[in-house]
Each structure stands twice: as C-alpha cells, then as structure tokens.
Amino acid sequence: MAMCTVYTAHSLNSSCSISTPTKTQLGFHQKQVFFYSTVKKTSRRGSSNSSEITCSAESKTVVIGLAADSGCGKSTFMRRLTSVFGGAAEPPKGGNPDSNTLISDMTTVICLDDYHSLDRTGRKEKGVTALDPKANNFDLMYEQVKALKEGIAVEKPIYNHVTGLLDPPELIKPPKILVIEGLHPMFDPRVRELLDFSIYLDISNEVKFAWKIQRDMAERGHSLESIKASIEARKPDFDAYIDPQKQYADAVIEVLPTQLIPDDNEGKVLRVRLIMKEGVKFFSPVYLFDEGSTISWIPCGRKLTCSYPGIKFFYGPETYYGHEVSVLEMDGQFDRLDELIYVESHLSNLSTKFYGEVTQQMLKHADFPGSNNGTGLFQTIIGLKIRDLFEQIVASKAAAPLEATKA
C-alpha cells in the first residue's frame, strides 16, 4: 500500500491523500509523479496552478522485535498487540497450513524459527539446539527484514514445526508494522539496528516451570521429570545466547513469583515488572503519579476493596545493565473490573486514545492467559505504546517531505 500525499506548490492548506493499488509488491519502489492543473482555484501569485503529487513506496514499515523463550507467552502477546491495531491476525490464506506467519490489516508477524539453517535432523546430527546461533541463518534474516523495511516483498522460508523440515518459501508483502518474534531478534547487531522497538519477555525459572507444567501436563507422555529435564537441558544454551539479548531491549517484561504470599509455589499470583529504557526515540515510559520519583502504592483501601492477596504497585528509576530505566511493577491480581479501571486512572503516559482503553482491551481478551495480572496489563500497555510509536514515526516521515517542499 503506497500512500500518496498531494502538495500544492503555493498553498499547503488544500492537501488530500489518495492511495494507489499496490504495485510496490512486485519489487519496485518507485516514485510516481503526476502532474495536473486545478481548474477553479485562484492562485495568489497568479502563476500557473499546478500541483504535484508525489507517492513514495511503503518505506514506513515499522519493525518491532519480540524475544522470548519457547512457551513464554509470545503468541498471547502477539494476539494482544494485533488486537490493539484492530483486526485479528491469521495465517496467510491459501498457503502452507503449517505456516508460522500471521497477517492482519496493519501488521504481519514473522516467526524467526523460519530462518533456521538446520532442520531438526540437521540439529540432531550436529548436536545443537535451536537456541544456538549456528542453527540460524542471520544473513538471510538481516537481508529479508531490511528488504521488508524498505518496502520490498520477500520470499521467506517456512520452518514446519510439526515435521521439523524447511518447507518451500512463502511470499511476504511489506506491511505497515512488521513484528519479528522468536529466540534471536536482537542477537545479530545488523538486525538490531533495523528494529524500531524491541521487547524481551524475561520469565524467571520458577514461573517458567509452572507455566510449562500447565502447558504440558495435558499432553500424554510428559511427566514432571521430563518437563524439568527439558528445561535443564536447554538452560546452558539459553543463558549463553538468548538471555543476553535483554540488555538491548527497549522494554523488558520480567515475570517473577509473587512476594505477597509467603512460600507460594503455585505460581498463580505473579509479580510483573515492566522495565522501560529511558531515551528511546518516540517512546515515553509509563509512570505512576510523579515521573522520575519512587512510589510504592497499594490501591486497596477505603475507596477500593480487593480480595486476598490484593494488589501492590511500585514505580521508580533504576539502572539495568548500565542503562537508565524506569520500572513499573505490579504484584497481585485483578479480581474485578473496577480494580482495573481504578488502576488505569492512576497511571500516566499510557498513550490511550480515550479513558478506559486499557481496561477495554483487557476485557476484550479476558480469556487470554494473564488477563487478570500484570502480564496482560503490561502487554496491553506496550501494545498501546507501539501504536503511539508507529503513529509518531509515520507523522515524522510525512513531515520530512513537507519540509522539503516548503523550502
């Protein structure tokens, strides 16, 4: 989709935009210039009324990176994120049924597993896990993400998770927002440069174990020991290759066991920290009451009654791997709608378009895991922040040629 803006040479108060059909999909990015003269308008200077419409190809693709270990809520995050932009994300119609790609009106989500250079048998022979950089083709990843960012469609390979083989490629057209999710979005420095915003989901070991038990106990063949062994066996590679990516992320969602219930091992109540890097372009961190100060807040009291174990918030500046960050932390869970709206009304810089948008988004997906605690809340907030980032980037890119025509 190419957006064309009409600029009149003499007055800038009549501007309209038209969209042309997508020729850019075929791999060209061209400037299409039309000249026409307006009939009725009188020009102040008396010279010929000609307006110039310049269309630039979709170079406004915003690229977002999301890193997390397998089984850590990336798909839930994806669904919340695409929902903020409107529409449901679905696999491409008519293509490979085992495709990992999701497409909605504004966003395309690419799973980085598609850039595995070794398939399952290859990895078995070499004795490497999928977490190992040797099993991934970072050159191809960089080329294709760069091409999509510039508005060129690519043929992306498909990694079939069921068969463990690399399937024939599928065509990916450049979207407005491209999300790359997987184990290594921030591993390669060249790919890191292409990301407009990056998020890391950092799940602590106890919570990871509890979530994997929930996920896998329904599956026959699995037992507690096999789940534990699986986590342990992957841990060395995870710590060496995946975990270091969190220092590069613009936002980290850290999930820890709760501090409200002593000796809790169920993992139902969670303490979630949203770590937001300061000084990121177009991203202003969420804060509580007073930006830059340290606040500890328990909303439950006279105005709001909560059930056990209640809710506790914390906000403050910290340093994280040498960067200045602001941390917003929530411990506990929401039981009722009014708790959620009460909390939302006290948070600032949420980038919502109307009062109650966060609550509305959370309610829309009340069946998603984490909808009653900080994971859902912070994922929704990050989704709104990404929308805000996207709009700011688009506005800044539209302003740049405007400056050029004025001069």
């Binding site: 020729k23 999909q25 798909s75 096999s226 062994a229 699986s230 066996a233 992957r234």
Partner: protein, 128 residues
C-alpha cells in the same frame, strides 16, 4: 487504470498479478459449470480431509516418541550436545502441540461460518 512510471520507464497495468504457488486448488476446476452443487461437494470433502490431517493426534505421537528418544540419548551422556538437542526437540513439539490444541479449541462453527459469510441471516449484526 494504467499509470506510467517515470522512474522505471515501464508501464504496468493493474491487472498484472504475481503468480504464487498455490497448493491443490488448480485441481478443483473441472468443467462442470452445469452442476455447481457438485463443485461445492468436492470442496467440502477436500476440506474435511485436510481438517483430519491437522488434528493433534500426529503431534501427540511425535511428542511421546521424542520424549522416549530424549530419555534414551540422555541416559548415555547427560551433558552432551545430543542430549540438549533431543530435549530441545521435545520442547519444540510440545509447543507445537499446545498451539494446535489452542487453534482447535477456538473453532466455534458459527464464528468460522460468519467470518466468511457476514451477510447471511445468522451472521448479521445490528449495531443501532
């Protein structure tokens, strides 16, 4: 609506489309325009066959096999790369299985029908 490209110097019409590799649908065009109902009957059968192929059964078996393999491999040498790769395969398949379960769980027949046919009586929504 044909537009001229000043940059490339090539004229493209809007009717050119990129040819994608489409699986199977080419076969669904027998010359029986006189019996459109038969066309849909084939479609239905084909769709049903495809649906059966993607039930979690095939993945569940793979998960069970992979766990057995991993336990065997690791019994020999618990810290080798092969052991890690085997458990990684287990993790990958468990993840795929849970995604399949979620996908199948979510298919409400009315919702899927209405997604494709929003104008039918059952699917009309009246907002005001």
């Amino acid at each position: 609506m044909a537009t001229t490209l000043t940059g490339a110097g090539v004229s493209l019409s809007t009717t050119t489309t990129r040819v994608l590799a489409k699986p199977d649908t080419g076969m669904l065009r027998p010359p029986c325009l006189n019996h459109p109902w038969r066309l849909h009957k084939f479609e239905g059968r084909r769709l049903r066959i495809q649906a059966m192929a993607t039930t979690p059964e095939r993945i569940s078996e793979k998960v069970v096999e992979s766990i057995k393999t991993a336990e065997e491999v690791c019994a020999g040498d618990p810290v080798s790369g092969e052991c890690a790769a085997a458990w990684d395969t287990v993790e990958e398949l468990s993840s795929a299985a849970s995604h399949e379960r979620q996908k199948n769980k979510e298919s409400d027949p009315l919702e899927t029908y209405c997604k494709d046919n929003p104008e039918t009586d059952e699917c009309r929504t009246y907002d005001n």
